[in-house]
Symmetry: C2
Subunit: 341 residues, 2 copies
């Protein structure tokens, strides 16, 4: 083939945009770290005042702020910068809808850890605190402020899927549900708000209790949603009609995934349902880039975890004895797999 | 405003995709480092053979390769992986069109340096080798293989703009041109190929000469394009009718930008033209995210460099004495500013 013909049709733009995509990504992460969106939560601020407030150097301050405008993360009117509706809702530290805790963690931990992706791919070993004998969750549980930020971020990140599950699943057929690895209880809150006939349990480790109970109380649901302390490997799961596992299975290897699904089967009555939700990969493994990259994040963060397709998960669910299994898309890159006993 | 109404309309997906955008970016950079696209240049390879050839661990190998499929960087047919037309052309190390040198540099240097973006924004200081007393170009000039890869990458990256300039600019009105900071001579080659009546000069530092002359000879243009050794601050610029400065001005502070434009004015005859091209930022500083991020890259990489708008550049050109100035978009995120004396 004539090389010049190919070159005329093929430009490297898409390759360069992806390969240098960490520029825009890190710019947003630094903006969260510097508190740009929290500073603007009370209203637009003129550029000189904003730059002073953020404590950033004049040299690149306007490039930084205007890059955030071009990336769709800020608005600019005259010489005043303002949050967008989305960044005001999700990136102002003082709002309960803040998901910046996740991005703060991405900035402080994942960005440098992903710098060792090549080594992770070559060795199959995690590249986080575990590489030097540390443990993420131990250090998180030891620092209440950091734990709060992390749990709050998880609630924000799960919000879209929690709301979709609250309306898509046939809750009218059930009365009691439990959310396994519930964190703040973001999912039980959404499910209970949309379905007043339901009562539910949030199941998680003891240090989570005060965070969960505060979130449930803030949503005036303490009469219908309670906390149950437990370790989902060591303890039996709650006996309810519907069990939910969101962003849980991908943390673990195949044997532990099967073990958790088996424990759900044992705990459920006939006709009961297991709902698994996260960034389920499309069966062809061609479309859901975010799900496939999430699986590489499990490589960076865990010893055996990985994400999986809906078909994989339906297979494990059927093998555990469930009589039916189906996949339904939720918000964004997430889906749920439903198994009925 | 009712918070629930806002939340229903506003989802955090765009924020999360951008904030975690370094996942996909680093995945491509690791693929270039591991030689995925060079391995596939001879044709599709079955997954097990490819994984063995790349020397990567079984654990996440399929997630890695399928993520590259989902990101549009590989094709997959049955169990065989293949390059796309673009990745085959631009990311196979053995092709002259390889631009992976730039991504290898982004992987080894820029990714970790951008990890200190917050510090750069706070101090206004570069975060590259200069932070610890080193110098990028000195080390590059001392390592011929690395210099070759870097220059080749620059040629690939400039290809789209070089071709656009070769046809968009009214070359019929001129006979002699010079490219200032020419590297391999990627621009002179494209301009001379499209305009057989022109002869040109590539102007750069002495270590560049053999790389330039090899590239010109490979394109059979040694009779019309010659190398002229020089330092664009210390030495006079070539006396020709058209001077081109591509990816040069953004490396420098305002005074040095003005100095270079002034030297171009002095060197040109009346009616002569200066062409400046790079990722010129749109005048409103709202659209060209890549140009604004490139300016932050100049923060990371240089003491005073920054990118600028077409309007900024036209102002400097007019102040230097040029009688007219205009901006024309080129390929991708780049534009040229043309000043006529």
């Amino acid at each position: 083939m004539d090389k010049r013909v190919i070159e005329k049709e093929t430009v490297p733009d898409q390759i360069l945009q992806l390969g240098l995509g960490f520029w825009g990504s890190k710019t947003l992460l630094s903006a969260v770290e510097l508190g740009v969106f929290s500073a603007l939560a009370a209203g637009p601020i003129r550029s000189d005042a904003l730059i002073e407030r953020l404590g950033i150097h004049q040299r690149s301050a306007r490039d930084f702020l205007d890059a955030l405008v071009a990336l769709g993360m800020l608005n600019r009117e005259g010489d005043h910068y303002a949050n967008t509706a989305a960044t005001d809702l999700f990136l102002d530290r003082r709002k309960p809808s803040y998901i910046g805790g996740l991005l703060e963690m991405a900035n402080a931990r994942l960005y440098p850890f992903w710098g060792s992706l090549t080594e992770a791919l070559q060795t199959g070993e995690p590249q986080n605190e575990a590489k030097h004998g540390g443990d993420l969750f131990e250090s998180l549980y030891a620092d209440p402020a950091r734990l709060t930020a992390f749990l709050q971020a998880m609630t924000g990140v799960s919000m879209g899927s929690a709301r979709a599950i609250a309306t898509q699943f046939p809750w009218r057929d059930y009365k009691h549900f439990a959310d396994i690895g519930t964190a703040q209880g973001g999912l039980p809150v959404q499910v209970a708000l949309a379905n007043p006939h339901l009562s539910g349990v949030g199941f998680d480790l003891p240090p989570i209790r005060p965070h969960f109970e505060a979130h449930i109380a803030a949503n005036s649901l303490s009469d219908r949603i309670v906390f149950q302390e437990g370790n989902f490997f060591a303890d039996p799961l709650p006996s309810v009609e519907v069990l939910v596992m969101g962003h849980v299975l991908h943390d673990w290897g195949l044997e532990q995934k099967r073990e958790l699904i088996g424990k759900a089967y044992e705990a459920l009555p006939n006709g009961g349902a297991l709902i698994v939700y996260e960034t389920i990969i499309d069966d062809e493994r061609r479309q859901n880039a975010f799900g496939l990259l999430m699986s590489l994040n499990m490589l960076i963060e865990t010893r055996e975890g990985f994400d999986y397709t809906g078909s994989d998960c339906m297979g494990w669910i059927r093998e555990a004895g469930f009589s039916s299994a189906r996949v339904e898309p939720l918000a964004g890159a997430e889906s749920m797999v439903v198994g009925v006993k």
